[in-house]
Each structure stands twice: as structure tokens, then as C-alpha cells.
Amino acid sequence: MSGLALAVVIAGLTLVTVVTRSFFLVLGDRVRLPARVRHGLRYAPACALAALILPQLVLADQRLDITWLNPRLDAGIVTIVAMVASRSMLGAMSAGMATFVLLRALF
């Protein structure tokens, strides 16, 4: 891709960010969203992060691996359990990372 074409694509991508992120905000007072929809959207960011996280746990080289032999999946489960039990972010991350390093060395 030439320098100019790349600059155009990057400008376009910037516009995509602005338009998608401020889509309903730009409409301003012209729209009113029903209370039930507004309430439901509370759940959206956690769902988005889950949708971005899970493929990273269960995919290895584009292949689905949902077995105990997948160190990433095991480490993810350990992190979730440790977070629920300890409420310590650093503690849970350390437990997860230790699991990952250990199992990757073993399997």
C-alpha cells in the first residue's frame, strides 16, 4: 500500500472510530431510548470483554481446544476462581500466570 493510500485508510479508520463511538450521542435529544433498552445496555461492556477474552483462552493456532490439556484455558479458569475467592487482581493474575507457565512447561 502506498504512503498516500495508507494515510487515507488511517484517516478512514479514525472516522470509523468517531462515528461508531458517538453514534447515538450525536443524535442527541432527537431520540429517546426506552427504559428497558437503556437498562439492558448496562450488560453490554462486560459481554463485549467476555467475547474478546474467551477466544484467547480456547483457541490454539485457530483450532478450538476445550480440554484440560489447554494451558490457556486452565490458567483462565484459575484466574476466575482466584478472583472470586480473593478479590485481589494482582493475586489472581499471578495465580493464572503461574498456572500458564507451569502447564506450558509440562504439556
Binding site: V9, V16, V26, P45, L49, L59, A92, F100, R104
Partner: protein, 256 residues
């Protein structure tokens, strides 16, 4: 009483001393509220910019990507297409679809910011990522009571998104500068994944939230073969629908 370390921020808060005090307190509160997300955001910025340079983009192009586009998952989706010489419309279409979840977020923030001027709405929208929206909603609670945000709420959000922006941009620059020195198989991206998990888990305090996250996770895997990175959007819609259904079922049960 003011912390000297943050005095350089003063011009931001305007001349009226009373208003400036409210704004400053809310802004700093917002910055502090971002702390739990700093590791996850920093690691993702580093991973994204290292990947951008490794795939053959120049440092200037990588800098423009992180500085202007400011959307990690869209950048990572667009990158292989750009490098492969795909047509511009395909790159933009793919990035748009990855970013469609932000349209949903903007609907969630609409009630708070709809009364502001167009430029302010554009700015607050542009600054909204997955993590900043998650943390803001967690702080503000139920959308049922959502009315136009007051000064403190807006400045809290500005502080939160400013901290997010600073961490993202500084770690992006670090990644661009250090791209050649960071070993590929260091497992750093996985630290980012685990950091995101620790960010999501504390919010899973009721049945609808848990159902939503489970539905979104399963859908993201099942919809993976969908073209143009549609999986994330489909997963968000499925997750929100599942959460609302569980909520509805609970309401029915209590009403009976």
C-alpha cells in the same frame, strides 16, 4: 488544599474557583477509578503496537494508528488486511463491524450526555472504549435513573477516559520503540487476557450479569466462523438479550 503533583492540570478546570474545585475532584476521582484497568490497557496497547510494527508498518504509521484510530481490536483486525494489500473499503468495513459494539455503548451513554454540545458529545464518544464504559456504568449504577449527567459525572468520565488515553498512548509509543527488543513468545498478550478477566469478574454479582457474560462467551466461540469479524457484535447482542431475559424471568417470579 491541592496536591502539588496535579497542579499542572489546573488550567483545565476553568476560572471559577468553586466550579474548578468540583471539576478537579471529579476528574481526579475518575483517574483513580481507572487504576484497576491500567495493567490490562497498558499490555493491550503494547501488544497492539508491537504487532503493528512487526507486520511491517512504519513507526510513523503505527503512531498514527494508535494516536488517531485509538481502537485496539479494530486496529488488529485491519492490520493483516492492510499488509495483504486488501482494498480500502474492505479494511474500513471490517473495522466498522468490529467497532459496531461501540454503537451499542453509545446508546447506553446517550441518556447521560444527550444535553451536551455536539463537540463535547463527539469527544466523549471518541474517548469511550470497552473498559471506560464498563467502569463508568459500574460506578453510576442502574440506567433506570439515568438522567442528564451533572458536572461531577461528566468530569468523572473525562478523568476516567483521560487516564485510559494516557496509558494507551504511552504504552503504544513504548511498544513502537521497543518492538524489536520484545521477544515474540514472551506470553505478554496472555497477561493482558488475564488482566481483563480480573476486570470483568468483580461485576458478576447477579444472575443476569453472569448469564449475559456466559451467553456472550459461548456465542463468540460459535459465531467465530462468521465473516468480517461479526462474532463480537453477535456475542454482545446475545449476551445483552440473555441478561435481559433472566432479569425478566426474575421479575415475573417476584410479581407472582
Amino acid at each position: 488544599m491541592r496536591a502539588p503533583a496535579t497542579r499542572w492540570l489546573d488550567p483545565l478546570f476553568g476560572r471559577s474557583p468553586a466550579l474548578a474545585q468540583v471539576r478537579r475532584a471529579a476528574f481526579l476521582d475518575g483517574m483513580r477509578a481507572f487504576t484497576p484497568a491500567a495493567i490490562a490497557t497498558g499490555v493491550w496497547a503494547l501488544v497492539t503496537s508491537v504487532a503493528t510494527v512487526r507486520m511491517g508498518m512504519s513507526a510513523e504509521a503505527a503512531l498514527a494508528m494508535s494516536g488517531l484510530v485509538y481502537a485496539g481490536s479494530a486496529q488488529l483486525a485491519a492490520l493483516p488486511l492492510i499488509v495483504a494489500g486488501a482494498p480500502a473499503w474492505l479494511v474500513l468495513l471490517t473495522a466498522s463491524i468490529v467497532n459496531l459494539r461501540f454503537v451499542i455503548f453509545s446508546a447506553g451513554l446517550h441518556a447521560y450526555f444527550r444535553h451536551l454540545s455536539l463537540w463535547r458529545r463527539l469527544l466523549l464518544g471518541y474517548l469511550t472504549g470497552d473498559v471506560s464504559y464498563l467502569l463508568a456504568i459500574r460506578r453510576w449504577g442502574s440506567h433506570d435513573r439515568a438522567g442528564p449527567a451533572g458536572t461531577a459525572q461528566i468530569w468523572f468520565y473525562l478523568g476516567l477516559t483521560a487516564a485510559n488515553w494516557l496509558v494507551w498512548q504511552s504504552m503504544s509509543v513504548a511498544g513502537i520503540l521497543l518492538a524489536d527488543r520484545i521477544p515474540a513468545s514472551w506470553g505478554m498478550d496472555f497477561v493482558g487476557v488475564l488482566a481483563l478477566i480480573t476486570l470483568v469478574v468483580p461485576g458478576l454479582t447477579d444472575a443476569p450479569s453472569i448469564a449475559g457474560v456466559l451467553a456472550a462467551s459461548v456465542t463468540a466461540i460459535l459465531a467465530r466462523p462468521a465473516p468480517l469479524k461479526l462474532a463480537v457484535l453477535v456475542a454482545v447482542v446475545a449476551g445483552v438479550a440473555a441478561a435481559m431475559l433472566v432479569e425478566l424471568a426474575r421479575e415475573r417470579r417476584t410479581a407472582r
